[in-house]
């Protein structure tokens, strides 16, 4: 099996970050949100509802161990220990596997809350494209969920669908979007209904002499088509934003924007953190409730 060779194409960087200029010693509430996804795990640490530090790592075979690892990594260099955290909320696909979380909250609610934090209170529609799922969320001015739809049955329209494609045309994941946008004219999309069939179609197109760029464009167009289908089901209201790892793929987002006729807001923080941030915000509200402040 060619596992070793193909691993490189879908690799994305793990990292941690501390927001400069903040001091946790004065914070009333130190909370953390841990978002265990099927592909990536994220931890966000907040001080009184303001982001302080976060980390992203690949989800390992054992979710509990990954939860501990990513949270500790987020705390690295801050002087904070796990014991200092007042309240932890777990979320995500593996949210039940955050052993040190006091409560678990659905990733849908966390993404809506997190999106509001990242993009502002005008957010009404959130598109979250994760490693193995795709979510469309409608929320109100407070980030409360009004309507949602999640598709994790079918790989089409998910990060995994892109990984399969990256392997096929031998282009690293992070460069896929640039490659897909490097076309003069948009080709017709490949089958938007199944990654297996889209892959076969893409292979046939490559054999027919289509360039990598053109095939990438066709594949991204198909994914965008499908995503817009899902969004239309919950309805799209401005302001529209994208979260999750695949939100960083400009090839998808630009095409989605084009189809919707609405531009997505630009993020000030890595949108992959939305779930963890939302969870940390819920943790803060729950901690305040505990303290009788609410």
């Amino acid at each position: 099996m060619t596992e070793v060779k193909t691993v490189e194409y879908w690799r994305w960087p793990e990292y941690r970050h501390t927001i400069p200029g903040k001091d946790w010693h004065n914070a009333k509430s130190i909370t953390a949100g841990v978002d265990i996804g099927s592909v990536g795990s994220k931890a966000a640490v907040m001080l009184d509802g303001e982001l302080y530090a976060f980390a992203i790592t690949r989800t390992g075979g054992v979710s509990e161990a990954t939860a501990v690892k990513v949270t500790n990594w987020a705390l690295e260099g801050t002087g904070l220990q796990m014991a200092n955290i007042n309240y932890v909320v777990g979320t995500g696909y593996g949210r039940v596997n955050v052993p040190f979380a006091k409560k678990t909250i659905t990733e849908i609610a966390c993404h809506a809350r997190g999106a509001h934090y990242i993009y502002g209170p005008t957010v009404r529609t959130v598109l979250d494209i994760g490693g193995q799922d795709c979510k469309a969320i409608r929320c109100d001015e407070k980030g409360k969920v009004l309507s949602f739809l999640m598709n994790d049955k079918c790989a089409a329209g998910t990060g995994r669908g892109l990984e399969v494609f990256a392997d096929l045309i031998r282009v690293p994941m992070l460069e896929l979007d640039k490659v897909s946008l490097n076309v003069e004219q948009e080709p017709p999309p490949v089958s938007n209904t199944c990654v297996i069939f889209a892959k076969a179609e893409s292979l046939a197109l490559l054999r027919q002499g289509w360039s990598k760029e053109k095939v990438a464009a066709a594949y991204h167009a198909a994914m965008a088509d499908r995503i817009v289908d899902l969004l239309t089901r919950v309805g799209v209201e401005k302001d529209f934003v994208a979260t999750g790892g695949v939100a960083k793929n400009a090839g998808i987002i630009l095409r989605v924007e084009r189809l919707l006729g609405i531009k997505a807001l630009k993020p000030r923080i890595d949108p992959i953190t939305a779930g963890a941030i939302g969870a940390a915000l819920f943790a803060q509200a729950l901690h305040e409730k505990e303290l009788g402040l609410r």
Binding site: T104, I105, T106, I108, A109, R138, K144, V145, L146, S147, F148, L149, M150, N151, D152, K153, C154, A156, S191, T193, C194, F197, R226, D229, L230, R233, V234, F282, A285, L286, K289
Partner: protein, 94 residues
């Protein structure tokens, strides 16, 4: 809140949509369903939430197949979950 459970795949759109604002958590749909598709859970989309009907986690990805027996190709389609819901909180997209 409108909760859409299900998926769209190559063969079509399959969603069970539950309006949690209308749902009163009575559980009649759970009993009426012959294939254990539904359940009553705590509404954790909000810090304060009551009981609401939901599609079981293990059924969400195969909802087309789970609901297939109630949707024959020809003949009458009587979906017990929809018939028994008084507040009309549940609908199917197919």
């Amino acid at each position: 809140m409108l909760a859409h459970y299900g998926y769209k795949d190559g063969s079509g759109d399959y969603f069970i949509i539950i309006d949690t604002d209308k749902c009163n958590g009575c559980g009649k749909c759970v009993e009426a369903c012959p294939h254990q598709v539904l359940e009553i859970v705590l509404n954790d989309y909000d810090i304060e939430g009551g009981n609401m009907a939901s599609v079981r986690e293990e059924q969400r990805k195969k909802i087309k197949y789970a609901c297939a027996p109630c949707k024959p190709v020809s003949g009458e389609r009587k979906m017990p979950c929809i018939l028994v819901c008084e507040p009309k909180a549940i609908t199917h997209s197919w």
